[in-house]
């Protein structure tokens, strides 16, 4: 539980720091999602349920701290689908952290598009999937490489 709390605060810090960075080359709506490094690391260092707790707490608190509660709904749509996909792929034991994280990035954006489609009642949001999905894969790979390094170093302490 202590480790969970620690990782939640860490992911909130990453969320806040990322918000300070200028938008890069990413298309509107896409972001790097540095906080997901924590989710991936938690999935490998702790139990699956810990990753779920950390993710849920981060989404709720980040939504409240950013002052955009409506963000929470979309984030949950993306976050839960992403975590579910990562748990299944990790259990398959055929993929490395990088592959699992790439799928996580993709499904995160797919989940957000699904949430937006349901909320707005229009399937047109899926036309944005090529841009957002590809971005999700790319940042997922980068986050996965980062998570791999983090996991290697944190293994001794958790």
């Amino acid at each position: 539980m202590t480790a969970d709390a620690l990782l939640v605060s860490l992911s909130l810090i990453l969320f806040a720091v990322e918000g300070l960075m200028p938008p890069l080359w990413l298309p509107p709506g896409a972001k790097f999602g540095l906080a997901n490094v924590v989710t991936v690391a938690a999935l490998y260092l702790l139990r699956e349920v810990d990753a779920l707790i950390i993710l849920s707490a981060r989404i709720f608190l980040a939504g409240m701290l950013a002052g955009v509660p409506s963000m929470i709904l979309f984030s949950f749509g993306g976050g839960l689908l992403s975590l579910a996909a990562m748990i299944l792929l990790k259990r398959a034991e055929k993929f490395s952290v990088v592959g699992v994280s790439a799928a996580g990035g993709f499904f995160h954006n797919l989940g957000q598009i699904c949430a937006a489609s349901v909320v707005m009642g229009s399937e047109k949001f899926f036309l944005y999937l090529p841009a957002l999905g590809t971005c999700g894969i790319v940042v997922g790979v980068l986050n996965g490489l980062l998570a791999k390094a983090v996991i290697r170093r944190l293994k001794k302490f958790l």
Binding site: G99, A102, F106, F126, L129, P130, G133, T134, V141
Partner: protein
């Protein structure tokens, strides 16, 4: 990164890009030609066509080419409809006010 990872990433990319493939064939875009608010012709933008339109005591020649529609010639005094050029996206429009002609792009 393992070989399985690469396969997984390739598969995900394919899924991500799938809306592009489905979309290109299924969506038909038309140019709706209205005179004084009444729909007189519906032109398929995927075909090339040249249409002489008698309206409001004058003539407009409407052309569809390369998925876009334009007014090629007109005998109205201001020629604003001709200068508007070609339009291709849903929601765009060309108006020839003297002849009360309106060309709009719409989805089926």
């Amino acid at each position: 990164m393992t070989r399985n990872d690469c396969l997984l990433i390739a598969l995900l990319l394919l899924v991500a890009l799938s809306p592009l493939m489905i979309d290109s064939g299924s969506e038909k875009i038309f140019a709706l030609i209205k005179v004084d608010g009444v729909l007189v012709r519906k032109l398929d933008l995927s075909a090339e066509a040249r249409l002489e339109l008698e309206a409001g005591g004058g003539k407009n020649i409407v052309e569809t080419k390369n998925g876009a529609v334009s007014v090629a010639e007109a005998d109205c005094p201001d020629k604003i409809c001709v200068r508007r050029g070609a339009i291709r996206h849903v929601g765009e429009a060309i108006a020839c006010v003297p002849h009360k002609v309106l060309i709009e792009i719409a989805e089926d």
